[in-house]
């Protein structure tokens, strides 16, 4: 069984067909790339998969269960987490708190214990604090834990977004242009971390990216979108030589 599957997935915005009959399949522990020219509908795919938009028609399944019509928080809890293209951190919260928000769903104590500071509150909060700092170690950001998120440099904000998504314990992680605005060294580090995340957490990763060296390097399979249509799929090698893809990018 595929981890994530979409079938005939389509969406229209007021007559504009933003996405038409999209089929994608993602297996466990796969790193898959979603590429295409600007405006091809890549982020729309993410918005559909995470429940931000409702598809006009088609099916989406996570581990065989339909996720159509579910709210974003329900979809997240069932195992899909994402980052945003135009960074959407909780800017006035600390870096650690940004991650703790994601852990909310897996914490046990109830409102009453919180308001009256019962032992379960202390126990869970302590556990979560340690865990949040462990997450930060993935990118070597543990020293930034108590800073406000808005004070982080741009590259680290992108990294924090990834960690925040990861902290929701997803089965599949959707990364929307994770390397945007990063310098080559940071991109190199990011690539290694993405692989490490996959190995350490045993999750699948679907990523949108414009940096072709990154995509070709770490993705095992690629899907190519153009004007809302899937025009090609296959290994990086196949995509590189696909004439349709080349013409879409060069705009023949």
């Amino acid at each position: 069984m595929h981890l994530l599957l979409t079938k005939d997935l389509s969406i229209e915005f007021g007559g504009l067909q933003a996405l038409k009959d999209l089929h994608i399949e993602i297996n466990n522990r796969e790193i898959v790339g979603l590429i295409g020219p600007n405006g091809a509908g890549k982020t729309t795919v993410f918005n559909l998969l995470t429940g931000v938009y409702l598809p006009t028609s088609g099916a989406m399944r996570l581990e065989g269960n339909s996720i159509i019509g579910k709210k974003p928080f329900e979809i997240n809890r069932s195992g899909i987490a994402r980052t945003f293209q135009n960074i959407r951190l909780f800017k006035n919260m600390t870096v650690a708190d940004n991650i703790k928000v994601s852990m909310h769903q897996n914490m046990k104590y109830n409102t009453f214990s919180a308001m009256f500071r019962l032992p379960s509150y202390w126990k869970e909060e302590k556990k979560v604090d340690i865990k949040a700092r462990e997450f930060l170690e993935i990118f070597g950001m543990e020293d930034k834990a108590d800073q406000l998120a808005c004070n982080l440099p741009y590259g680290q904000q992108r990294k924090l977004e990834i960690l925040r998504a990861l902290a929701t314990k997803p089965k599949i992680l959707l990364l929307d242009e994770p390397a945007a605005g990063m310098n080559p060294t940071e991109t190199q580090e990011l690539m290694e971390v993405i692989r490490r995340i996959r190995d350490q957490f045993n999750i699948a990763i679907l990523l949108i990216e414009h940096d072709m060296s990154l995509v070709m390097n770490i993705c095992e399979r690629l899907y190519v979108l153009d004007y809302g249509h899937l025009i090609a799929q296959g290994t990086p090698e196949e995509i590189r030589t696909n004439p349709q893809v080349i013409s879409a990018y060069l705009g023949s």
Binding site: P72, L89, F90, N92, M93, Q105, T168
Partner: protein, 340 residues
């Protein structure tokens, strides 16, 4: 971490001691008639306004949703609790606390009714719908038999008497302290983090697994509950209530306490509730200009310091003592090494 927890525990203890200390000082002053009846009333009103401001702060400061009808919930609570103690025929000492719980619950029910349509949606609907609620609930109270229309209810018995002037103050103080404590603990928990995350970015919060509608509604209803309780205390404190006592201007007064103190700062709300209750009492001859001045303050604060005077900063006496203590030990350590 263990150290941190211990330190937090000490902070809680110091704060608790300070709150009790202040309470016993005030109580003694009241019981020995050093603080007269009028001043006791003002002190009680300050406590009531603290409950109102701190609870509104939860929605407007922490959740970031504007509420323009907090007085409406106060009205619901005031009438509920007054009607209960007037009609139940129980001893007031027993009936009053029960009536306060009922007052809070009834206000919470109204909170759910208007919160569901407004908070399911993204956008500023809560502001307008609470504004409408505040106006309409008065129209309804003005026209119902049970609320005795525009005449309102009179002869609501107070626990305080000339012989024993303190019970209402005790209630108000204890409830204010409890509200402050609960708002603080709620804000610094996984639930509070969820609420702040919604303020910061609703879509991101929902994508991280936060049930945003639930938390928005919960926060709003919690605030409505406390406003209802405050209304119940208020009704029994002043003895006579009518719909005009809970008009839009009162909602504005509570809002300005929150805005001025700092959106999201509990201590800020406490301070500005205290000052803004006490000051107008001293400047009664200027009461004509009060709302004009308030409106100008609102605009100026929003234009030049939108987060309010304290912002999200919390004043903490234990932290202050801690720093002071650290400085003193440093100094003594220095003099010691200097001497050696």
């Amino acid at each position: 971490m263990g150290y941190l927890k211990k330190k937090t525990g000490v902070y809680y203890l110091i704060n608790a001691v300070l709150v009790f200390l202040l309470f016993f000082v005030l109580l003694n002053l009241i019981n020995n008639r050093i603080i007269n009846r009028t001043s006791t009333q003002i002190l009680t009103l300050i406590c009531i306004n603290i409950i109102l401001a701190v609870s509104l702060n939860l929605v407007t400061g922490v959740l970031g949703q504007l509420v323009l009808g907090h007085a409406g919930f106060m009205l619901v609570g005031a009438y509920t609790s007054a009607l209960f103690t007037m009609n139940i025929g129980l001893d007031l000492k027993i009936a009053f606390p029960i009536s306060l719980v009922l007052a809070g619950l009834m206000a919470a029910v109204f909170g759910v009714i208007i919160g569901i349509p407004a908070l399911r949606l993204k956008g500023d609907y809560l502001a307008i719908i609470t504004l409408g609620f505040g106006e309409i609930i008065r129209v309804i109270a003005n026209n119902l038999k049970i609320t005795n229309g525009a005449m309102g209810l009179s002869g609501i018995k107070s626990l305080s008497t000339t012989k024993n002037p303190s019970p209402m103050f005790i209630y108000a103080y204890a409830l204010a302290a409890l509200t402050v404590f609960l708002m603080f603990t709620f804000g610094r928990s996984r639930h509070g983090r969820a609420v702040i995350a919604i303020r910061e970015d609703e879509i991101a919060a929902e994508s991280m697994g936060i049930n945003t509608t639930y938390y928005k509604l919960f926060t709003f209803v919690l605030a409505a509950f406390f406003a209802g309780v405050a209304g119940g205390v208020f009704a029994h404190q002043i003895g006579v209530i009518d719909p005009s006592k809970f008009d839009f201007n009162r909602s504005v007064e509570i809002l300005i306490m929150v805005v001025l103190g700092g959106m999201g700062s509990i201590t800020g709300s406490v301070i500005s509730a205290t000052v803004l209750t006490w000051l107008p009492e001293q400047l009664r001859e200027f009461s004509k200009y009060r709302l004009l001045v308030y409106s100008i303050i609102l605009i100026l604060v929003m234009l030049f310091k939108p987060s309010g005077l304290l912002g999200r900063y919390e004043i903490s006496i234990p932290k202050f003592l801690d720093k002071l203590f650290a400085r003193i030990t440093k100094k003594t350590a220095k003099t010691k090494t200097g001497g050696a």
